[in-house]
Amino acid sequence: MGLFILRRVGVMILTALCLTFVVFFLTNLYPNLEKLAKTQGNFRMSDEAVETYLANHGYLQPTPLKYAQWLGVAPGWVIEGSDGELRGRCFEPGLPAEEAPTFCGVLQGDWGYSTVFREDVAEIVSTRLALTGKLMFWVMLLMVPSALIIGVLAGMREGSATDRTLSTVSITTTATPEYVSGVILIAVFASSAVGLKWFNGTATSAMEDANFENFFLPVLTIALYGMGYIARMTRASMAEVMTAQYIRTARLKGVAFRNIVLKHALRNALIAPFTVIMLQFPWLLNGVVIVETLFNYKGFGWTLVQAAGNNDIELLLGVSVVSVFVVLITQLLSDIGYVYLNPRIRIS
C-alpha cells in the first residue's frame, strides 16, 4: 500500500509538472505576451514598444528558463532595462535590490503577482478557494444524500414504476448542463417578470452572508447535474447487488424487505458510488466555473475565467496547479478509499 501511494504521488507530481508547463507554454506564446504588454502598458503601443516592455520585464527569455524561474529552481531574472531601471523577478517594492532573494518560485512559496487583480496570487487563490469551498460543501451536502436515496430507491426494485420514474428524473438531470438548468431555474424562481420570485438571481451577496434565498439556486444548479449521474451509478450497483445470491438467501429466510435493503444490500451497493462521487470532482469544477459566472459568485471558477480571459499568466498557473491537484488528489483518494471499502481487496 505504501509503495502504491508513493508511486501514485510520483505520477501526480509528474502530471502536475507537465500540465503547468503546457499552461506556461501556451500563456507565454508571443501573441499572448503582446496582449499582456498592451493591457499593462497602453493599447496603442507600437511593436517596438511592446518588444522593449517585454524585454525589460523578463518575458523574452527562453520559455524553459522562465518556467524554471517560476518553479524556483533557477535564479530569478535581474535585467537592467533599456530605460536604465534595474528590474528583477524577486524584487519587492520598497526593498533595496541587493536584499532580494536569488530564487523566488513556487518552491519558495512565492506564487507570483496577478496582473489583473494587482494582488499576490497566493492571496487571491486562497480567498477564492475558500468561497468555492463553501459552495462545494453545500453542493455535496445536497447532492450526495439525495443522489444516493434516489439511486437506492430506484435500484431496489428494478423495473418497477418507482424505478422508471426516478431513472427518468436522473437521466433528465444528467442531460441538463448547468447553463441550461441555471437559466431555467432563474426563469422560474428568480425572474422579476413572471415566476415565483422566491430566490435571488445572483449570488454576489452570498459571498459574505450566504442564506437560503441567495445561495440555494447556485447550489441546486451544480447539484442537479452531478446528482443524476451518481444516482444512476448507485441504481446500477444496487440493482446488481439485489440479484446476488446472499440477497436471495435472505429473501428465502424470510427477512423483511426493508431489512434486506438496509442491512444486507446497502453497504455493498455503496462501494461503487463512492468512487464515482470522488471522480465527480473534476466535473464539478467545470460546473463551478459555469455557475459562478452565471450567478456572479466571485469564487475560484470566476477567477479562472478572469485570469484566462486576461492572460494573467501567474494567476492562471496558480489556478491550474490548484485544480490539477484537486483532480489528482481526489483520484488518489478514490483509489485508496475503494481498497479500504472493498473487503475482497482489503483482506487479500
Binding site: V22, I186, S191, A308, V319
Partner: protein, 483 residues
C-alpha cells in the same frame, strides 16, 4: 394586427382539456410512486424470471391503468395541438400552431422514418431492435427531430426570418408579436419573440440546430477514430506503450476543460497556428485507421489492397488536406484550385478542441474493452491461425466491442453538444452573432430576470436534444443486452 396567443382559437376548446388531463396525469404518477413504496402486492401476483414478483390489479393496478390512460390522453391532446397547428397555421392555432406549421417538413420526415423503420424493423439489426423499447423510440424521435430540423433549416425551409435580420421595433418583444414594419411577403410574426438585438428567437433557435447537428456527431466520430486507433494497441500490447499513452490521456483528463478551452480558443492562440497544427495531427487518425483497416484485411492479396488503398486513401487524403489547409493560416499546403472547401476559422478551432477533449475518454474505454476481449478464445484462435496483431485488433476485437462503443457514441454526442454549448456560453470560438444555442443562451442570460423568452427556447432545445441522445443510448443499451 393582434398579438398571437399561445394556442389561438384552438385553445379555447383544448386548453381546459389539457389542464385537466395534465393535472390528472401528474397526480396519478405521484400516487403510483408513493403507492409502490408502501403497498406490497395486489391480488394478482406475477413472478418474474429473476425471482421478484410484480403486483397486478388491486389499488396499484388501478392507478397503473389510470396513469397509462391519462398519459395516452395527454399525448393525444398534444397531438391535436400540433396537427391542428400544422393544418391551420398561426391565425387559428396561435404560436404553437404557427411553429407546428413551420416544422411541417420535419413532421413529414419523422413520420416517414418511423413508418419505414417500424415496417422493416426485423431486418434492421440493432437499429430495428431499438423500436422494441419505448424509451429508445422516444429518444430516437427527439434526436431525429433536431437532426431533421438542422437539415431542413440549412435548406431554409423552417426559419421564418433570417437569423441575423434585425427588424426595428421588435427588440425584446414577447412571443407572438406581429411585425410593425414588415415587408410584403415576410412572415408577419415573431413566433417566439425578439431578442436584445431585435432578431427572431425562433429562427435563431432553428438555425442554431444546424451548427450542433453538423459539428457534434462529426467531432465525436473523430474522437472515436483517435481513441480507437490509440486505445486498441494500448490495451492489446500493454506494457510501456500502454503506460505512456495512459499517462498522456490522464494528463488531458486532469485538465479542467474550461481552462483548456480558454487556452486553445482565444484569438491570440489561433494566430500562432497551434489549433491548425493540432488539427493536422488529430485528423490524420481517420486516415491511419482506414489504412491499417484495409491493409490488415487484404494484405494477402496485394493487388486488391493496393487498389483499395489507392482509391479510398487517395480520396481521404484529398479531403484531409483541404480540411486542414486554409488560405492565410499557418497550415496552407494545398494550392487554391485544389482546395475543396475551407472551414471557417472559428469552427475548425472549436472542432479541434472538442475532439481533443473527448478522445482521451474514448481511449480509456477502448483500452479497457480491448484488455477484456483479448483474453477471449476467439482471439487466441486468431493468434494460433497466425493473424497479425492489427488484424486481431481491428477485425476480431473491435467488432466484438461494438455494443458498448455504440452506446457510448450516443452518450458522447450528447456530451459534445454540452461542450459546444459551454464554448458558446463563454463566448469562445464561434463568432458572437452565431445562432448556436450556447451563444444564444449566453446572450439571453444577461437580461434573464426581465426578459425570459430569448434564453429559454435555446435552453430547452439543447436540453431536449441531449435528453434524446441519453434516452437513445439507454434504449440501445437495454436492447443490446437482451441477446
Amino acid at each position: 394586427m393582434e398579438e398571437l396567443s399561445w394556442t389561438g382559437s384552438l385553445g379555447t376548446i383544448m386548453d381546459p382539456v389539457l389542464y385537466v388531463v395534465a393535472a390528472l396525469f401528474v397526480v396519478l404518477v405521484a400516487l403510483r410512486v408513493v403507492l409502490s413504496l408502501f403497498v406490497r402486492a395486489g391480488p394478482g401476483v406475477v413472478a418474474a424470471a429473476d425471482g421478484t414478483a410484480t403486483a397486478t390489479g388491486g389499488p396499484v393496478g388501478l392507478v397503473d391503468t389510470g396513469m397509462k390512460l391519462s398519459g395516452l390522453a395527454l399525448i393525444a391532446v398534444v397531438l391535436v395541438y400540433l396537427l391542428g397547428g400544422a393544418v391551420a397555421g398561426w391565425p387559428g392555432a396561435g404560436i404553437i400552431g404557427g411553429m407546428s406549421r413551420q416544422f411541417l417538413p420535419v413532421w413529414i420526415a419523422l413520420v416517414a422514418t418511423f413508418a419505414l423503420s417500424l415496417g422493416f424493423k426485423r431486418r434492421l439489426g440493432l437499429y430495428g431492435k431499438l423500436f422494441d423499447s419505448v424509451i429508445g423510440m422516444i429518444g430516437f424521435g427527439l434526436v431525429m427531430f433536431w437532426v431533421f430540423t438542422g437539415i431542413f433549416s440549412a435548406m431554409d425551409l423552417i426559419a421564418t426570418h433570417a437569423p441575423l435580420d434585425q427588424i426595428s421595433g421588435m427588440k425584446n418583444k414577447v412571443p407572438g408579436t406581429p411585425l410593425r414594419f414588415g415587408d410584403e411577403g415576410a412572415y408577419p410574426y415573431y413566433l417566439l419573440g425578439g431578442d436584445n438585438l431585435a432578431r427572431d428567437v425562433f429562427s435563431r433557435m432553428v438555425t442554431g440546430s444546424w451548427v450542433v447537428v453538423q459539428i457534434a456527431p462529426l467531432a465525436t466520430l473523430f474522437a472515436f477514430m483517435v481513441g480507437i486507433t490509440l486505445g486498441l494497441p494500448a490495451g492489446y500490447y500493454g506494457g510501456k506503450l500502454d503506460t505512456f499513452l495512459s499517462f498522456l490521456a490522464n494528463l488531458i483528463l486532469a485538465f479542467p476543460v474550461i481552462l483548456l478551452f480558454y487556452l486553445l480558443v482565444t484569438p491570440e492562440i489561433v494566430a500562432t497556428g497551434i489549433p491548425n497544427y493540432m488539427a493536422t495531427v488529430l485528423f490524420v487518425f481517420p486516415l491511419v485507421f482506414t489504412g491499417v483497416l484495409i491493409n490488415s484485411r487484404f494484405h494477402t492479396s496485394p493487388m486488391k489492397r493496393n487498389l483499395l488503398i489507392a482509391v479510398i486513401l487517395g480520396a481521404m487524403l484529398w479531403v484531409y488536406l483541404s480540411l486542414i489547409s486554409a488560405g492565410g493560416t499557418k497550415v496552407d499546403v494545398l494550392p487554391y484550385w485544389l482546395d475543396l472547401f475551407d472551414i471557417p476559422g472559428g469552427i475548425l478551432v472549436v472542432f479541434v478542441s472538442v475532439v481533443f477533449v473527448n478522445s482521451p475518454t474514448v481511449f480509456r474505454i477502448v483500452r479497457g474493452l480491448a484488455m477484456d476481449i483479448k483474453t477471449r478464445d476467439y482471439v487466441a484462435a486468431a493468434q494460433t491461425r497466425g493473424e497479425g496483431p492489427w488484424y486481431i485488433m481491428l477485425w476480431e476485437i473491435l467488432p466484438n466491442a461494438r455494443g458498448p462503443l455504440i452506446v457510448d457514441f450516443c452518450l458522447r454526442i450528447g456530451y459534445t453538444t454540452i461542450l459546444l454549448g459551454t464554448l458558446g456560453f463563454f463566448g469562445l470560438g464561434l463568432p458572437p452573432e452565431s445562432p448556436d444555442w450556447g451563444s444564444t443562451i449566453n446572450e439571453g442570460r444577461k437580461l434573464l430576470t426581465i426578459y425570459l423568452h430569448p434564453a429559454l427556447p435555446p435552453a430547452f432545445a439543447l436540453l431536449s436534444l441531449v435528453l434524446g441522445l441519453n434516452l437513445l443510448a439507454d434504449g440501445l443499451r437495454e436492447e443490446s443486452l437482451k441477446d
